[in-house]
Subunit: 219 residues, 2 copies
Amino acid sequence: MFSSLAFSSDHRPGAPRPTPWAAVPSGPVLHFTADGGIYGEGDETRSFYKIVSGVVRTCKFLSDGRRQIDAFHVAGDVFGFEMGAEHRLTAEAVTDCSVISYRRRGAEMSAASDDGLARQFLSHAMRSLERAQEHSLLLGRRSAQQKLAAFLLDLADRGPDDDMVELAMTRLDIADYLGLTIETVSRTFSQLERDDMIQLVSIRRIRLKDRGGLHALGS
Amino acid sequence: MFSSLAFSSDHRPGAPRPTPWAAVPSGPVLHFTADGGIYGEGDETRSFYKIVSGVVRTCKFLSDGRRQIDAFHVAGDVFGFEMGAEHRLTAEAVTDCSVISYRRRGAEMSAASDDGLARQFLSHAMRSLERAQEHSLLLGRRSAQQKLAAFLLDLADRGPDDDMVELAMTRLDIADYLGLTIETVSRTFSQLERDDMIQLVSIRRIRLKDRGGLHALGS
DNA sequence: CGTGTAGTTGAGATGCGTCAATAGTTGTGG
DNA sequence: CCACAACTATTGACGCATCTCAACTACACG
């Protein structure tokens, strides 16, 4: 099953969402423009963040410039929470976005006195772990078609319309998330359209015409 | 850097290790023989485990029988700790091994009253997450040579001898961990030997002849 | 209406998978 | 100690999925 695909949100439209980190003193709301950097690998972990609006990617880079995107984060998601002194990933805005920043020190002190908060952090970490493990299965053992199908189904599940997907990210982002090249992503979209499983309505809009078929690809 | 490769232990020989989960009431020590199942995906999470001796793998299966090994766990490592009611992975003994089982209920109750314990769980989850993310980078963006080189260097780092690696697992296990086939693993070992970077002393013993070269492969 | 960026498509190369044969290793029983 | 079976690993030949390089197209923005 492709229940998660290592996205960072369980948010479903209409589902009630607990107010996270209520006890953590929050900092200002920050705004970033598309492709703007939020923090880099190795930066000091002064804060972590919760998205108000927009999409954020967290990723790692190889020395040759290639990139592996770890996850896409959407409204309500928390990212950048670390135990160590440095961020292990880079965070960048995929679209224009607004995020609330929480002071790390504040969170740690709160956790020391607020047991429920420690629980929330743990719960968050375990959900992230689950997604990372699902993502490993996808990266290690799936074909390009299966990767794209799972990706689209996952996006559809969290969007408002079950059959229409709005892509916030470029083909390059998708490729770097799925461990492919942009050419393979593009060709595979075209192939899925020829197979009548999807319709490329516009460059950033995809209609799922055969969810059953897409799901079956990943058997 | 290949600092971790998603293995589950930071243990270095001789390094002091804190006694984890001291406040959790521990159950009996269990013994498993090589290739024995410890728990399966979907099993109720009654317990989690700490390894006394031996090696354990945690993995997921696809419907076609293919497997993605998530991590190899060695003495001192904790595995099987979950938030949900069911295990999301399968755990199997790679070698004969002994593990201490901890009752989940006990752990949760302790965490509710023991703040330090909640912290330890969080710390464990964050380390697992870090490894899973490193593993995703490896699976998504590395060649077979780079995967094997990183794997060997990681094993060497945690073994007693920096230049000699003892493989507890079969080629199939290695392949399923790195997202390859046994043939590719075997061929790549042979190629690395031809390139004078390693020596296949015996089927389960590999001498690293050029750590610098191996490291450089992953640039 | 040009210019730049993002996406698509094609042709060819290649790395890894698949299938198949061989070799080595381990365990068992005579 | 040897013979045999079963399992594990290696090697080769070949095919295919994906990557690479390159040309072309579509769209956004001045």
